[in-house]
């Protein structure tokens, strides 16, 4: 079913064409020189595809790709020459080494991101080169390793052309894997991490695990590329797997389009072949190489492929949506009126600032509970504590009777709690559909079930006509709806809404009230943080009022709003509180 949602479905044709290319290309190139370029292009294409996973999908920078390639290449080289192993066993060893290296680098993402991560990967790369060059007993040092064997295969790989088939076949298979990875749950989780880590975590994506898996996969893929290279050229030495090569892989992925498999392959072949064509203009080429990287970044942020794609998208109309088979089942099972969420003696101090101080309240199943209070009273901090983004200084938070304080957000989310953010945290570069799909993943099930829930969620908020648009192109009001649909698709039991009406105009606000009321009617339990008093009083069953981090009142809306303590708390900005 989600297939008919894809805007252009040329996938199978492309795969068929690719398969033909794998068979035909090595036959078309008759000279050793061009066959070799084909092998080199295939090996580097595989290596660069590791970056598609880690950088393109997951958004984590890695400048250590050449070291992963090196591990794979050394595995094959030393395994087949020194230890006389079967090629495939040697491959396994190289791949395992790269996987472990990927695991180590991936684990650093627990603590580091951005520039820090870039630096760690660079350090790793430099240390790899130093070891490969200087640990001569094992690596044979700068002399490198000669006499590398070719793999035993269905047919003997005793000529360059036959090996080119093998290399192109490997490229094709890895390409398919990486391409379909993007369409799996893991692939979507990766993209979610790239787009907005916090939101991904709050939607039940284990961001740390996803990043580690991405690095490990990237290492494995690169190591396979290294193995293909080593057996193609029958000789390796450490200077091939240097920092410069890592930068080159980055350039390949970027030029073609980091997120696209075909783009990366295109980039790899282009940057392998171009220097060969421009042999006579070498100096110019090298200067242009740096210049072109900058130009691509500035003018074609999605690479050549993204550019082609952008044009392609204009000519293809999105197909119509099917109807959802099952209605949304928000709210979960359980006796209405039981304590779904129980907050007791909850506190969060930032240094001397007591943002939340010994707050108690409960949210009963089925009710819409509002958390209000003047600016800086600790409402958002409360929501961040409940959803796990902050760890409480003290106190307890129980969801369905289970203690969740200190539990990581993705675990809490998978227990049935979902949330929206005050400042929207959408996966901006993705379509509405993908946003909602990622939200739907929280509840698991088959791909069809995930898609069906996503459809139902889109229908619930009324965004059917916008599913194929990228979120960043939507008006603000629609973006708010996407964020809610994204949480609904996971069919949460408890939804935390952080100022859903902020920034909306009057009409949109009324639509939001309608949506909340419909959700309420459907049985969804909600905890609502909102400034707009008229909205709050229209929809909420009960209220808790915070001021300076402490609870000052609680009860039915009319009682609370009449409570003198509450009136006094709002006195400073009475108009804001009661107007609008």
């Amino acid at each position: 079913m989600p297939k008919n949602l894809r805007s252009f479905n040329w996938g199978y044709l492309a795969i068929a064409l690719g398969a033909i290319a794998v068979i035909v290309l090595p036959m078309m190139v008759t000279t050793r020189y061009s066959t070799n370029l084909l092998i080199l292009g295939a090996a580097w294409g595989i290596a660069a595809m590791g970056l598609t996973v880690v950088l393109g999908y997951t958004g984590q920078i890695s400048l250590a790709q050449a070291s992963f390639v090196g591990l794979g290449a050394y595995g094959i080289a030393l395994g087949t020459t020194r230890w006389h192993m079967n090629w495939w066993v040697a491959l396994l060893i190289g791949v395992l080494m790269a996987a472990v290296a990927g695991l180590i680098l991936g684990m650093t993402t627990l603590k580091l991101s951005g520039h820090y991560l870039a630096m760690v990967t660079i350090s790793f790369q430099i240390i790899f080169t130093l070891i490969a060059t200087n640990w001569r007993v094992v690596t044979n040092g700068p002399d490198g390793v000669t006499g590398i064997k070719r793999p035993p295969f269905l047919f003997a790989l005793n000529s360059a052309q036959k090996y080119a088939w093998f290399a192109m076949g490997a490229l094709f298979l890895i390409g398919l894997l990486v391409y379909f990875l993007r369409k799996t749950r893991l692939g979507r989780s990766m993209v979610a991490v790239r787009e907005n880590e916090l939101a991904a975590e709050a939607l039940g994506v284990d961001t740390i695990r996803t990043k580690i898996v991405a690095f490990v996969l990237s290492g494995i893929i690169a190591a396979i590329g290294g193995a293909v290279y080593a057996s193609g050229f029958l000789y390796i030495s450490p200077d091939t797997f240097s920092f410069e090569t890592s930068v080159q892989f980055l350039a390949m992925a970027l030029a073609g389009g980091t997120e696209s498999v075909l783009g990366t392959i295109l980039g790899a072949f282009a940057l392998t072949l171009l220097p060969e064509f421009l042999r006579d203009f070498k100096k110019v080429y090298l200067i242009m190489y740096g210049f072109v990287i900058i130009m691509v970044i500035v003018f074609m942020p999605e690479g050549l492929w993204g550019f082609v794609n952008l044009i392609g998208r204009r000519f293809v109309k999105p197909k119509a949506l099917p109807k959802a088979k099952n209605p949304l089942q928000v709210g979960g099972q359980g006796a209405s009126g039981e304590d779904l969420l129980a907050v007791a003696n909850l506190g969060k101090h930032f240094g001397g600032l007591k943002a939340v101080d010994a707050v108690d309240f409960t949210v009963k199943r089925g009710e819409l509970h509002a958390l209000i209070g003047p600016n800086g009273s600790g409402k958002t901090t409360c929501i961040n504590l409940i959803s796990g983004l902050y760890i409480p200084t003290f106190g307890s938070i129980k969801l369905k009777g289970q203690e969740i304080s200190g539990v990581r957000p993705n675990r809490i989310a998978r227990m049935g709690l979902s949330r929206t953010f005050q400042n929207l945290r959408l996966f901006k570069e993705l379509t509405v559909w993908e946003n909602v799909l990622i939200g739907s993943q929280r509840k698991g099930g088959t791909e069809a079930q995930i898609a069906d829930r996503a459809l139902a969620a889109v229908e619930f908020v009324g965004l059917e006509s916008k599913v194929q648009e990228r979120c960043k192109n939507l008006p603000y009001g629609h973006q708010k709806l996407v964020e809610i649909a994204r949480t609904l698709a996971g069919e949460p039991e408890l939804l935390l809404l952080d100022e859903p009406a902020a920034g909306l105009n009057q009409t949109e606000k009324q639509e939001m009230v309608g949506l909340l009321q419909r959700l309420h009617a459907a049985g969804l339990t909600m905890l609502l943080v909102e400034h707009d008093m008229s909205l709050v009083s229209q929809v909420s069953d009960r209220m808790t009022v915070l001021n300076f981090g402490k609870k000052i009142s609680e009860g039915l809306p009319d009682d609370v709003l009449a409570d003198p303590v509450v009136v006094e708390a709002y006195l400073g900005n009475r108009e804001v509180a009661l107007g609008a």
Partner: protein, 393 residues
């Protein structure tokens, strides 16, 4: 997402077809019989690092080869046929070197190839050379290059085993030093040299007193210098290819007052090293496969080189490729059919041929030279101290 796949494939195909079809048709085998073909230029392949880390060596290598070609063609070429160089860039990388070699091999009119100076890249090309079965001249000095059962590589420089033997012989027998340290880059050249020095000291029952390796582009040698001081070495043998490393080391040794007998690998006599080190290299010894005073032929080469290249001093980077082209032309004269096997046999038969570097006699491994000149730096002019021959193996 998948649109344009066809476009992409078409592009790749065009590109690859382009590669393959740009190769000229195989040469006719009738060359030499047809009188019209007698003036047809003979193509000679030349692989140089024209980009990347080793460009400097590449520039000299090209100049030496071009000087040789000019002289040969002026003197009537190879039986009337002029030589034409076909130059490919190895990009200073292994895949680049292999690609450059294969590009040249596609052209069946090329009977012989003069390849690169960096040992690693020659190592990478070896499988292809063995498969191609045509004579390839090399300038890399790594011992193993001619000792790995390849029938087709011919070395136009002495190898590191010889350089180590020469240096050790000079230090121990002539200078009477016994506490010898080795200082080297940790690249293939430096590590190989270090091993050979240890080997060469064995007959004298000596061991090195200190082994100081450092990575290329090191900026501070205080660690190396203090280790040398503490080791009590009275002489050091160095294998350093990178001239900035050499320059900084020499300067800092003087600054930190380490005065020690120093015999260095060829770069110590190179122009770059002298420019950077200033007077710090004064008094050091260096080995040079090329020295202008070593023979009249070497002198003549210097004169011709300076005349052609703006008064630039020639060094071994150019001399070896000059000799390679000259000797290749010589064997081609005797074998106008340009059959690889005959050319190879003719090369192996070369005995006592006087080149700019010295007297070439090829042994069964393909090594042409067995000597080094030892020169002393005397205020940045070089005085020939001794020419030492060593037994081959």
């Amino acid at each position: 997402m998948r649109r344009g796949m066809g476009l992409f494939l078409a592009l790749i195909m065009v590109v690859l077809v382009g590669c393959s079809s740009s190769t000229p048709a195989p040469a006719t085998s009738s060359a030499g019989k047809d009188p019209a073909a007698n003036t047809k230029p003979i193509k000679l392949g030349l692989i140089i690092p024209a980009t990347g880390a080793s460009v400097e060596a590449g520039r000299f290598q090209k100049q030496g080869a071009e000087l040789a070609v000019e002289e040969i063609n002026k003197a009537g070429g190879v039986n009337g046929r002029p030589i034409k160089l076909v130059i490919e860039d190895d990009q200073s990388t292994n895949p680049g070197a292999v690609a450059a070699l294969q590009k040249l091999l596609e052209d069946k009119e090329i009977p012989m190839i003069v390849s690169s100076i960096r040992s690693t890249q020659i190592q990478a090309m070896l499988p292809t050379i063995n498969e191609a079965k045509i004579p390839v001249a090399i300038g890399g000095t790594n011992y193993g290059l001619t000792h790995s059962n390849s029938q087709w590589v011919f070395r136009f420089r002495p190898h590191d085993g010889m350089s180590a033997k020469v240096m050790v012989k000079f230090v121990v027998e002539e200078l009477k030093k016994t506490k010898i340290a080795v200082v080297h880059n940790t690249d293939a050249f430096g590590n190989g040299g270090r091993d050979m020095v240890i080997e060469a000291l064995k007959p004298y029952n000596l061991k090195i007193v200190s082994d100081q390796g450092f990575n290329t582009d090191e900026k501070d040698f205080t660690g190396v210098i203090s280790a040398l001081k503490q080791s009590g070495a009275d002489a050091m043998v160095s294998y350093i290819a990178n001239s900035p490393d050499l320059g900084i080391l020499a300067k800092q040794m003087k600054q930190q007052n380490l005065n020690i007998t120093w015999v260095g690998s060829p770069s110590i006599t190179g122009q770059d090293g002298i420019k950077l080190a200033g007077d710090s290299l004064n008094g050091t010894y260096g080995i040079a496969d090329y020295n202008a005073d070593s023979s009249p032929k070497a002198k003549a080469y210097q004169t011709a080189y300076k005349a052609k290249y703006n008064n630039e001093e020639p060094d071994h980077y150019s001399a070896w490729s000059y000799d390679a082209v000259t000797i290749f032309a010589e064997v081609m004269k005797k074998n106008p059919d340009l059959k690889a096997d005959a050319l190879r046999t003719a090369l192996l038969a070369i005995k006592g041929f006087q080149g700019a570097e010295g007297e070439y006699t090829f042994d069964k491994n393909g090594d042409g030279l067995d000597h080094y000149n030892i020169v002393q730096n005397n205020n940045n002019t070089f005085k020939l101290a001794k020419t030492l021959h060593v037994p081959r193996d």
